[in-house]
């Protein structure tokens, strides 16, 4: 863990990190800057190499909040992606959610891209994710794994993930 999770979740879908907050004596007694609702992650087999996670991020503050990184217990690497013109590309500078606004991560749009998953993500699994914000705070949530045939966007490099059998280049 790179930082102390300090925020108690209010939304039912966000992990109630009571134990974690308990070891943080200087916890701020306010809600999280960012709430995550309706989180889910696409099921995947290891040979798929990758998957994606979605949900709605709501900025509860009066200033912009930026997600700069994400980690998960089901994936060694997560990139913040958006789909532009049908092509996935990494979102430089992270995902910024304006004050009081919501950002929906959804197939065909912004999403958390899981890279090199080591084990299958099976329908009904619960995967834990942690978002790191630009101010160093973190927000943890649990996403339910759902079978979903969509969200097969291809990379900006032109490599079509849905059609090409196995990437040949290194």
């Amino acid at each position: 863990m790179f930082t102390r999770p300090r925020f108690l979740a209010t939304a039912a879908t966000v992990i109630a990190a009571a134990a974690l907050a308990g070891c943080s004596s200087d916890a701020v007694p306010s809600g999280p800057e960012l709430t995550v609702t309706d989180p889910w992650v696409k099921t995947a087999a290891p040979e798929d190499m990758m998957s994606a996670a979605f949900g709605t991020l709501t900025n509860t503050t009066d200033h912009d909040v930026t997600v700069v990184a994400a980690t998960s217990d089901v994936s060694p690497e997560i990139q913040l992606h958006e789909v532009v013109g049908g092509q996935m590309q990494e979102k430089d500078g992270g995902l910024t959610i304006p004050a009081g606004a919501s950002l929906t991560l959804e197939p065909g749009g912004f999403h958390l891209m899981l890279m090199g998953i080591p084990a299958a993500i099976v329908a009904g699994d619960e995967a834990t994710f942690t978002l790191e914000l630009s101010d160093g705070e973190t927000v943890t949530f649990t996403a339910t794994a759902k079978d979903f045939d969509g969200a097969n966007e291809s990379y900006g490099s032109g490599m079509d993930m849905s059609a090409s059998p196995e990437p040949s280049e290194g």
Partner: protein, 417 residues
Amino acid sequence: MPAADTSGLSRRRLLLGGAAAGAGAAVALGAERAGLVPGAAPEPAIDAAGLNGERVVPFHGAHQAGVTSAPGAHATYLAFDLLAGTDRDRLRAWMRLLTDDAARLTQGRGALADLEPELAVRPAGLTATFGLGVEAVRRAGAAVPSWLGPLPAFPEIDALEARWSGGDVLVLLHGDDPTAIAHLARMLVRDSRTFATLRWRQAGFRRAYGSDASGTTMRNLFGQVDGSTTPQPGDEAFDRAVWAGPEAPAWLRGGTSLVLRRIAMNLEGWDEVGREGREAAVGRRLADGAPLTGGSEHDAIDLDKKDASGFTVINPVAHAASAHVADAGAGIVRMGFSYDDPVEAGAVDAAGRPAVSNSGLLFGSWQRDVDAQYVPMQRRLARADLLNTWTTPIGSGVWAIPPGCEEGGFVGETLLG
């Protein structure tokens, strides 16, 4: 309708929160029409308000909502067979997913991973009720109720087909909007692929919402008023008949059981019977469902009343006589839907001609104990029911219906949690 907006909205909220929303909404709508269109209140008209689309039946609660809510105009039953690898843990994961889909869609919200959430915004009283067959309870490692399993055979009447029978897990969706039902059904089957296969799917209907006053007893496709004596939610007899108590395994208390029989109805054979014969077969008047011994639909039937020649007015083997139970709380609670499906290739009718109908009844019944309540009645009916001449059970199944759950919980948590 700007002038009526405020009062209309508040009245709507008030009505939608209550269990009596159906009947209340009908009354309120009539009043609204009267207010909006002076002098035109009694005229049947297209419902321009669309009030019923937003009607929500709460999903969470002590009992599953589909048991206690008024039957919708449409119903879909789904039955699943568990895959070999679906053990207790996977069964729990599956029931969590299905519960989440149902909890969202019945409340007018899209499911997770739902790219068509617009289909969810008119639930129109949509409910989802989950049932567990004997194999699912075994895999959960829970105590199996003595009555859970196939019904005993009724060789006098049964012509059961596997394609309409059994299933390890059952879902009943009912509500007034078939689009909302279709969308929830798709979300459920999509979330079931890694746990189970769809064994069968059966759809049924009653009159459309708004055709009859809410609460009107349904008519089956024989034209009969069907279900006059069945206890209604809120009746003392309903509670006694339906809810499993201390005699049941702990996980089932507050739940019940469902028997579903797919009953084919020979409409062409029924055509050969005159009105008097039809009424005699049932023991009730076709016009209003009143017993042939007089009174109105909900008056008690008098099975002992004799006519001038000394015979009972109601034939002892009439359907209403054979099905009669003295104590409604010791009987079953019926929830029927008609089906009217395409004629199957090569089907012939009783006279050997190419069939022109494929119709019948999805006969559902709730009871706390299948062996004590359903089976004795079915035995009487199998031996002696004039209606058997024109009806044939072609599908059958029994499921345990667990109690409901609260927000954050899931149906089945009492045996899988």
